[in-house]
Amino acid sequence: MSIDTETAARVAKLARIQVAPAELPALASEFNAILGFIEQLGELDVDAVEPMTSVTPMRLKRREDVVTDGDQQAKVLANAPDAREGFFAVPKVVE
């Protein structure tokens, strides 16, 4: 599997990371080096193996479906780059 600059651009877009067009060939070549390394996994027959979901067999604990926390608006907003009138502020989303 070889990644071309078009695929690299698509992945960057999916990851929401801006990459200048001039940097795409180098990025694609790095991806290819890493994916080439990963290809080894294809050597194994894994048809009968269940994919691991939890490294430690455990039942996740359940709790009552009730509110246990909240009313911390000031703390939640304290680290925002732009917070106004009790909200996170972002550029216009809908035209």
Partner: protein, 494 residues
């Protein structure tokens, strides 16, 4: 008492109990050492006011005679842990200015036990790296140097600041985190002890997430005894982490008898790597002999899927990272890029993440995005999860056959030079070849300093234990530590 910063946790605890010293005196000794050690790049956010305040409170608590083991002990905290009101950046520009309104469970447990936080420690950005060179703060430097060379060496990574600080006696101990070897590899590179507990032992709540199914916090200390003391203080069930184990934490220190007679130590043939320095091979052999001399039985074992651990890791870890790091979008915390006229929210995300993340983090987020994308999910991600199941089964098979713990080298080399040109990212990944299997299988592992190479650099051995049996694992590590008698310290140049 002189050189209080050079004490172990156990020594300091006993001196505090006897009234031979105070936490304020210990803390001041460490703060002085830190002030003179900027060349090591270990402490990136210093908190002397908090430290002295907590030290005074610890002294009061000690006076009352109701103090836990960690009370009054000055420690460093890896930058990955959220600490209330104190910068917590995970070594990244994207968390510039972030001051959490809360404390991570692990650092909170240490704080509540009376431990004194000296400041935050350098690390690879988002814990992605093996040399501490991906940090936004610049490199952490190893206090050890090779022979008469003045070349700066890596302390390893990602917990490089923690390792450097402990090895240079800037603190009595430090917290680390380990996703693929990030506690054990830097511990081995700096001649200290590093314990990665069983997955689920330490709560992940409040620790900046890298790969949630692999991440585990643990202690980085001067001795195995200290790892037992501090490890116990860091562990325990936490309802805020759904994968936290609801199991009692034993008194690990009480289990350090040094008696390992009858224990079966596995020696896995797959860890004999092509091109591994002879000194490491020899040290491994010596370590095995030491354990046999202490009464253990050595057994040759096979972990057949070992060679697939790194490739599986480099699918699973980036996949989880791409998901975990999606939260850094310039909206809720940290850095937001300046925007141009007409930029919308997509440009804000893309510019913020392009400017806020470093090269290695971007690389891994994009690889993770790729292996999870439609059409590749089965070929890469699901296949890697299946291989992970096989790697775990390898360990289960040998443990079921009666092996108590497994001895391996900790790293394929001693500490290497900072700035070494690494054109191929895969070459850097090979640092974790002996440690990454343990994360994939969720097992406890400990790096113990065992000797010096011919340049005078420390080398470590790794012991891998059964799940939840850190006590037994630490006792074997203690026997190895006793037999190896590693006492060397780096000569002070900083």
């Amino acid at each position: 008492m002189t050189d209080l910063n050079k004490l172990t946790i156990a020594e300091a605890r006993d001196a505090l109990r006897k009234g031979d010293t105070t936490s304020v005196a210990l803390t001041q000794a460490c703060l002085t050492a830190i002030e003179g050690a900027d060349a090591l790049g270990a402490f990136v956010h210093k908190t002397p006011e908090i430290a002295l305040e907590r030290a005074a409170a610890a002294d009061a608590r000690l006076q009352e005679g109701d103090a836990p083991d960690m009370c009054g002990i000055p420690v460093g905290i890896k930058d990955l842990f959220c600490t209330e009101g104190v910068a917590s950046q995970a070594g990244s520009k994207i968390l510039e200015g972030f001051r959490p309104e809360y404390e991570s469970t692990v650092s909170g447990q240490l704080r509540d036990a009376g431990a004194v936080m000296l400041g935050k420690l350098n690390m690879d950005e988002f814990a992605m790296g093996s040399s501490n060179e991906t940090s936004v703060y610049g490199n952490a430097v190893n206090p050890w140097r090779a022979g008469n060379s003045e070349a700066a060496l890596t302390p390893g990574g990602s917990s490089g600041g923690s390792a450097s600080a402990v090895a240079a006696d800037l603190c009595l101990a430090a917290t680390g985190t380990d996703t693929g070897g990030s506690i054990r590899q830097p511990a081995a590179f700096t001649g200290i002890v590093g314990l990665k507990p069983t997955y689920g032992r330490c709560s992940r709540w409040g620790i900046v997430a890298f790969a949630s199914s692999l991440d585990q916090a643990g202690p980085m200390t001067k001795t195995v005894r200290d790892a037992a003391i501090m490890g116990a203080a860091m562990m325990g069930h936490d309802a805020r982490d759904s994968t936290s184990a609801d199991r009692p934490v034993p008194d690990f220190e009480a289990m350090l008898t040094g008696d390992i007679r009858g224990k079966v130590i596995g020696i896995p043939k797959e860890y004999r790597m092509e091109g591994m320095p002879e000194e490491i091979e020899a040290l491994w052999h010596q370590g095995a002999e030491m354990l046999r001399d202490a009464g253990a039985e050595l057994r040759d074992i096979s972990l057949p899927h070992t060679k697939y651990a790194l490739p599986a890791y480099y699918v699973v870890a980036p996949a989880e990272a791409s998901s975990n790091l999606a939260r850094y979008d310039g909206v809720r915390f940290g850095y937001r890029a300046d925007m141009a006229q007409g930029d919308g929210i997509t440009e804000m995300y893309e510019k913020t993440r392009a400017q806020g993340f470093g090269a290695e983090v971007k690389r891994r987020v994009m690889i993770g995005t790729y292996v999870l994308s439609a059409g590749f999910y089965d070929a890469y991600y699901n296949r890697a999860r299946k291989v992970r199941a096989l790697i775990k089964r390898d360990f289960e098979d040998v443990f079921n056959a009666g092996v108590d713990s497994i001895l391996t080298p900790a790293t394929p080399s001693a500490a290497f030079e900072l700035g070494k040109d690494v054109a191929d990212p895969v070459e850097m990944y090979l640092n974790d070849v002996f440690t990454v299997t343990v994360n994939l299988a969720g097992l406890p592992g400990v790096a113990v300093p065992a000797g010096l190479d011919k340049a005078g650099l420390p080398l470590g051995l790794q012991l891998i234990g059964r799940p939840w049996e850190e006590g037994d694992l630490l006792n074997t590590a203690y026997a190895l530590e006793e037999a190896a008698g590693f006492v060397a310290k780096p000569a002070k140049w900083w």
